[in-house]
């Protein structure tokens, strides 16, 4: 009998209120509820977070490394996309 492995889940943890959830790793679990528990045990042992998301790895659509050039290179020479073409008025500390 071939041994079936539990499906893979991606784990996102919010470190503090106000921050967004950040990808921290992945794990195996038979279902979402247990994935959340496993994430708690594997990724928040040292008080790393206040909230956890688990997402089935199969639900993630990722860009392909082959498409890297077409996806990302065209942005390289478009300096006008960066907010650097105006002067910051004096005395404005938080812009």
């Amino acid at each position: 009998m071939s041994r079936q492995q539990w499906p893979l889940w991606e784990v996102f943890v919010r470190a503090r209120r106000g921050l967004s959830h950040t990808h921290v790793g992945s794990l195996h679990a038979p279902d979402a509820e247990l994935a959340l528990r496993n994430a708690r045990d594997l990724y928040t042992r040292r008080q790393e977070g206040v909230s956890i998301w688990v997402v089935p790895a199969t639900a993630i659509t990722a860009s392909s490394p082959d498409e890297k050039d077409a996806f990302f290179d065209p942005a390289a020479d478009k300096v006008y996309r960066h907010p650097t073409f105006y002067e910051v008025p004096e005395g404005v500390a938080h812009l």
Binding site: W6, L27, A29, P30, E33, L34, R37, D41, L42
Partner: protein, 249 residues
């Protein structure tokens, strides 16, 4: 005997032996994730055991610390219930043991928070959150195994049937539970068995499992009369300390 000492020893021994048994799963659990989960629970139990046994040692006043109590007593001196010393069996048996124990410990520690003894109350406050998680973990597995495949259902039912008789000892009343209740140290466990039963019943029913009838009710652990399994467990747990007394890292 000082009832506070006896109480700390009794519940410290429950936690210590439960920790040792759960620790046996390390590197052997069905999946890596479950390995970590069981080890976490074992460490929670060990943490509670350390607090309770350290306190027991202080109350005894005979110069015994947590290590002396854990590593230098023989089986007849241990006061844990029989349930925690039973072998792990298959995964279903381990889960059945953890489920019944956690549902009991959660209620015990919850009530311990209002103990007249400040130290016991503090230990209860720390341990009850941990027990709530142990219960959650065990209940999820009872549901999945009970209401899973035909084979997992068969094994989970067999595990519940095997462990059930040993749950009665958790709620047995004796001189110590009476004294502890009288002095406001800890609520006697038989008073919260109905609540425990209601919770256990609900999970078993949802898991399509049958609750066994109440017949045989083995006991004796609270008086130091244990199954043969405890001696083997202690032999393994204590071998290093006995071979090299006072060994340190």
């Amino acid at each position: 005997m000082n009832p506070t000492y006896a109480l700390a020893l009794r519940h410290g021994d429950d936690a210590l032996i439960a920790a040792q048994r759960l620790g046996e799963w390390v590197a052997r659990a069905p999946e890596l994730e479950e390995d970590v989960a069981l080890a976490n629970i074992a460490l929670d139990q060990l943490g509670a055991a350390r607090l309770l046994l350290s306190y027991a040692g202080e109350l005894e006043g005979a110069g015994r610390d947590e290590d002396a109590l854990a590593y230098l007593r023989d089986d007849r001196e241990f006061r844990n219930c029989l349930l925690v010393e039973l072998p792990n069996g298959d995964f279903a048996v381990t889960i059945a043991k953890l489920f019944f124990l956690a549902a009991y410990q959660r209620r015990f520690y919850e009530r311990l928070c209002s103990s007249t003894d400040a130290r016991l109350a503090a230990i209860g406050a720390k341990a009850r959150k941990e027990s709530a998680y142990h219960l959650d973990h065990a209940a999820l597995w009872v549901l999945r195994l009970g209401d899973g495949t035909a084979e997992s259902h068969r094994r989970m039912q067999a595990a519940v049937d095997e462990i059930w008789p040993y749950t009665h000892e958790l709620f047995a009343a004796d001189e110590l539970t009476r004294q502890a209740e009288e002095q406001g140290l800890a609520v006697a466990s038989h008073t919260f068995r109905p609540e425990w039963l209601a919770e256990v019943d609900a999970v078993l029913a949802e898991a399509t499992l049958r609750r066994p009838d109440d017949n045989w009710a083995p006991g004796g652990g609270r008086d130091g009369l244990h199954t043969e399994h405890l001696s083997y467990l202690l032999a393994e747990m204590q071998v290093l300390h006995r071979a090299h007394p006072g060994a340190r890292w």
